[in-house]
């Protein structure tokens, strides 16, 4: 395997990590819609940290190894339309993903506040925060952007 082959393998593994994190949050978003207690909400915290790590590693890996490949591999150029499209989608996806995380962190923060105050029972306010429609819409948008990057990377329109 050449060095570029290794870079490509790491680029694709990073993409897998990114999508795996996105899938993880899709499952958590569905699961948390039925959770109205601080304990149930807080229990999802370590799982969401795994998702954050997967997305973080995936986003950094795809951009670093992807840029390396764009400059190193003959026949590809950083100004190719499909590469520019991927970079733009990457930036948008990161921004939307950050807002999605912020929307769902409101529920986690509320759950920790309730637990600190000794309120361990069901809370309608917590349930409403866990069911944030804004967060769900942002997550769908973020997932669509990731899917578009995947299509762009495989199809390579114009390459």
């Amino acid at each position: 395997m050449s060095f570029d082959d290794w870079m490509l393998a790491l680029h694709v593994l990073s993409a897998f990590s990114w999508v795996a994190g996105t899938v993880l949050f899709s499952v958590l978003i569905v699961a948390v819609r039925r959770v109205d207690t601080p304990e149930g909400t807080i229990r999802m915290d370590p799982v969401s940290k795994v998702g954050n790590a997967a997305i973080g590693i995936g986003m950094v890996g795809t951009i670093v190894f992807g840029l390396w490949l764009a400059f190193s591999v003959g026949g590809y150029n950083i100004w190719d339309g499909w590469i520019i499209a991927a970079l733009v989608l990457w930036v948008f996806s990161g921004a939307v993903g950050q807002r999605t995380g912020a929307a769902y962190m409101e529920g986690m923060t509320k759950a920790k506040e309730l637990q600190t105050a000794g309120q361990t029972g069901p809370s309608a306010e917590l349930l409403a925060l866990n069911r944030t429609s804004r967060g769900a819409v942002l997550h769908v948008l973020s997932s669509v952007l990731v899917l578009l990057i995947l299509i762009d990377m495989i199809w390579k329109p114009g390459a």
């Binding site: 395997m1 050449s2 570029d4 082959d5 290794w6 490509l8 393998a9 694709v12 593994l13 993409a15 897998f16 999508v19 795996a20 994190g21 996105t22 899938v23 993880l24 899709s26 499952v27 958590l28 699961a31 149930g40 229990r43 370590p46 799982v47 795994v50 998702g51 997967a54 490949l69 591999v73 003959g74 026949g75 899917l147 995947l150 299509i151 495989i154 199809w155 390579k156 390459a159």
Partner: protein, 151 residues
């Protein structure tokens, strides 16, 4: 391998997309399932979340990945080649043995989830967790092999 070979004919795009997308869903389901099971600390709701992630996400992902693999295998004419290259054989082997291990983990986990009603089953779900982690590691190797295409 010439990386320019990854600029592929349009007819291969859809099957490859299906194959890769399915594999990503599979890995995502495994990561979710393994994480939920690992951090459940015996709590039934989290154990069920972990199991259902494997059943409702990983299994459909595996099916999509395998259908896409067969499709692209014939689309790119590998079925007309006498000997598959090593990377292809490795990927196919891990995909198939991984599918078998996934089924075993789902059966064990299914019994475990059923037994949770009587306060048992956590041990079986621990076995499901271990198998999920083994599968995650195996599929990382498969992705590396399918992408890097070592000789």
């Amino acid at each position: 391998m010439n990386l320019l070979a990854t600029v592929r004919p349009d007819s291969s795009v859809l099957p490859l997309l299906l194959h890769v997308f399915g594999a990503m869903i599979l890995v995502g389901g495994l990561l979710t399932g393994a994480s939920a099971l690992a951090f459940a600390k015996g709590e039934a709701r989290s154990l069920r979340l972990g199991y259902w992630s494997l059943l409702a996400v990983s299994l459909p992902g595996w099916i999509l990945m395998r259908v896409g693999a067969e499709w692209i295998y014939s689309e790119e004419g590998w079925d007309e080649v006498a000997d598959d290259p090593g990377w292809l054989g490795m990927g196919a082997f891990i995909a198939d043995i991984g599918g078998f291990i996934l089924l075993v983990s789902l059966i064990l986990g299914g019994v475990g989830v059923y037994r949770l009603r009587s306060g048992k089953g956590a041990g079986l779900l621990k076995a499901t967790l271990i198998l999920s982690l083994v599968l995650l590691a195996a599929y990382v190797v498969a992705v590396w092999a399918m992408t890097g295409k070592p000789d």
